[in-house]
């Protein structure tokens, strides 16, 4: 069986990350910007999970030493990253709700125009 080397967790993580960046670059919807941030965070999390983890390694929850363990530290770190990602998304969405009540739009450009118009008043 030929192994496909380039499709591994790491490269996938980088691709997912840049899909998120593309979303930020190309979409004008505020909600989509928040979703893109989530996708970028997902890519980073997948990258952390794949660090120092071979195809044979087991989850680091047993006491035995006859098998290869995945490195537990990045997995512990990633829990923090996930929690932060959740809270950041929540805060961003709440801010978006407040902003939507003021501007009545989900579009970055329209929101920006509103901001400049209000300034002139």
């Amino acid at each position: 069986m030929t192994e496909i080397n380039f499709i591994n967790a790491q490269n996938t993580a980088i691709v997912i990350f840049f899909i998120g960046v593309y979303g930020l670059c190309a979409r004008r919807n505020i909600i989509k910007a928040i979703i893109s941030l989530g996708i970028m965070g997902g890519g980073a999390i997948l990258f952390f999970l794949s660090v120092n983890r071979g195809p044979d390694s087991m989850p680091p929850i047993f006491n035995g030493d006859s098998f290869v363990m995945a490195d537990p530290l990045p997995q512990a770190l990633v829990i923090t990253a996930i929690v932060i990602g959740v809270s950041v998304t929540a805060v961003a969405l709440i801010m978006f709700i407040a902003m939507y009540h003021k501007y009545g739009t989900t579009n970055w450009l329209k929101a920006m125009r509103h901001r400049i118009e209000r300034e002139d008043e």
Binding site: I30, M40, T80, I84, V88, K102, W108, A111, E119
Partner: protein
């Protein structure tokens, strides 16, 4: 133990203040700030005498645990943090917006800033920066004014995106080094055989940090966040005077960490020069007082970057000193801008006139800060600029420094127009706390200028001396550029459309994301070429 105190005292007091429904308790926070200031001075003296200290939280092994590390740079920045927050509390002691919720956010931000300066662990820095980003966004939109909502949202999204870049960079670092402790990575950096693997993590980390310190293509969020009209001026002080230094501090640390294997100082030097130039050009065209000051922050950060990356100890310590000097005079400028805005009810510089007659005291202190930022002899800016310039003597960089300084002078000539002219004659009463804060900062500008060499040798144990002749030469250059700036402004620039109508570089979120991507590709490609 003392390092824990810096982190836990503000957070615990902040929480208590939020929970206790008694208005006078805000005064307690002010007392606490005095205590923290004393503690940070004690900590600084201790570290200067006994060398850096390091604690690992929970006594884990350093490779897996979170370490707090304090050397003289961190200790000095802790002092700066305590000082600026003390001044802010003094300034806002009588203000109505200082309610319990605001003080809670403010004290938490102080604790988080201190963790960034203390932490020796990159992942910890990521976590703390993320949390402080949220708090800063909340502080920006504290009054829920329609403009600040957009500014806060933009700040939040761009900075979180930058920190996600940083996080992915950390993933790479962990994969290569098996640890995220700065000192451990720095030690292992010598053993790297194939240095090209460092290009990607370096580019990811630098994109995150670059947005935090507002390097050239990535600065467009900064003026909006730092100068949003409805935010209280002490929020602008903290953001522009102090919080942006976290980015520069991270830059210094990460650069040092990578230095054995990867050196890209030349590229960052060019970025620094361009940042300095574009900062003052945009500052010149602004009409909003706070906007002018915010764009000058970008320009001065460019100067700090030049100092750090120009090479040679003189320039490096000049850059670090400029970090502190900038914190002092920019905070003072924002404080007095806050007073002026609240008394005049407008932020438009063309409509404010006759400030000197109405509040001579505050104006005097503001002029001290302006002399500081433009690098007038005897004031603090001149010393740090002197060191940077003597570090890069004779080259094109020295001329670039003079050019940036000239631009700063022209822009502040425009700024100073508000002192003159006819306004109402009667004096405006300013309460004692505000006066005291402004006076202390103004005196600091002068003292740090008079004793600049002492400050440097006190901070970093490095003896420097000022050549009097050279210094007089620099002073002459200053006066020549002052005259040139005055003439250029009055003869040519005053009537141009650029100055009169104002111009704002408005990048939407898409533009910022694209420039972030471009910066990333540029740094990654440059690192590949160099390695």
């Amino acid at each position: 133990m003392i390092l824990y105190a810096f982190i836990f005292i503000p957070i615990i007091t902040g929480t208590l203040i939020y929970l206790i429904p008694w208005k006078g308790i805000v005064k307690v926070a002010f007392g606490l700030q005095m205590g923290l200031m004393a503690l940070s001075i004690y900590n600084f003296v201790y570290i200067r005498l006994n060398g850096p200290i390091e604690v690992v939280i929970g006594n884990f092994a350093k490779i897996a645990g979170i370490s707090l590390r304090c050397d003289t740079l961190s200790a000095t920045l802790l002092m700066l943090t305590a000082f600026i927050f003390l001044m802010c509390f003094l300034f806002g002691l009588m203000d109505k917006f200082m309610n319990n919720l605001f003080v809670f956010f403010f004290l938490t931000l102080q604790a988080l800033t201190m963790v960034i300066f203390l932490s020796g662990d990159l992942f910890n820095i990521y976590v703390v920066t993320e949390v402080s980003t949220i708090i800063v966004a909340v502080l920006i939109m504290f009054k829920k004014d329609s403009r600040s909502l957009y500014d806060g949202m933009l700040y939040l999204i761009t900075n979180i995106a930058a920190m996600t870049f940083f996080l992915l960079g950390l993933g790479f670092m962990y994969k290569i080094f098996g640890s995220l402790d700065i000192s451990i990575i720095g030690a292992k950096m010598f053993d790297i055989e194939n240095a090209r693997v460092l290009a990607m993590p370096f580019a990811f980390l630098m994109t995150g940090i670059g947005l935090k310190c507002a390097f050239l293509p990535l600065f467009s969020w900064l003026p909006k966040a730092h100068a949003t009209p409805s935010a209280p001026s002490i929020v602008s002080v903290i953001l522009s005077g102090l919080y942006v230094k976290c980015g520069i501090y991270l830059f210094i640390r990460v650069r040092e960490m990578f230095l054995p294997a990867l050196e890209m100082d030349d590229i960052f030097l060019v970025i620094g020069i361009l940042t300095g130039i574009i900062g003052f050009i945009l500052a010149m065209s602004q009409k909003d007082i706070k906007m002018i000051l915010a764009y000058h922050t970008i320009s001065q950060l460019g100067i700090v970057l030049i100092g750090i990356t120009a090479g040679g100890e003189y320039a490096y310590y000049g850059g670090v000193l400029h970090l502190f000097n900038h914190a002092v005079f920019k905070s003072l400028l924002f404080l007095s801008a806050g007073i002026i805005i609240s008394k005049y009810g407008t932020r438009d510089i063309t409509k404010i006139r006759g400030v000197f007659r109405r509040m001579p005291y505050v104006s005097g202190m503001t002029i001290a800060a302006m002399l500081g930022i433009t690098g007038a002899p005897l004031f603090n800016g001149s010393i740090s600029k002197y060191f940077i310039q003597s570090g890069v003597k004779g080259g094109i960089i020295e001329y670039a420094m003079i050019l940036i300084n000239l631009g700063t002078i022209i822009s502040f000539i425009k700024f100073s127009q508000m002192f003159f002219g006819k306004g109402l004659a009667e004096r405006i009463h300013i309460d004692f706390g505000k006066k005291a804060a402004v006076t202390t900062m103004g005196l600091m500008c002068l003292l740090m200028g008079m004793g600049g060499t002492l400050v440097i040798s006190g901070i970093i144990n490095y003896r420097v001396s000022i050549d009097i002749l050279e210094y007089i030469k620099k002073a002459l250059v200053y006066f020549v550029s002052l005259g040139a700036g005055y003439l250029t402004y009055n003869k040519y620039l005053k009537k141009t459309k650029f100055i009169k109508e104002g111009y704002e570089l408005e990048l939407s979120i898409n533009g910022i994301a694209i420039s972030m991507m471009a910066f990333f590709i540029f740094i990654a490609a440059a690192a590949y070429v160099i390695l």
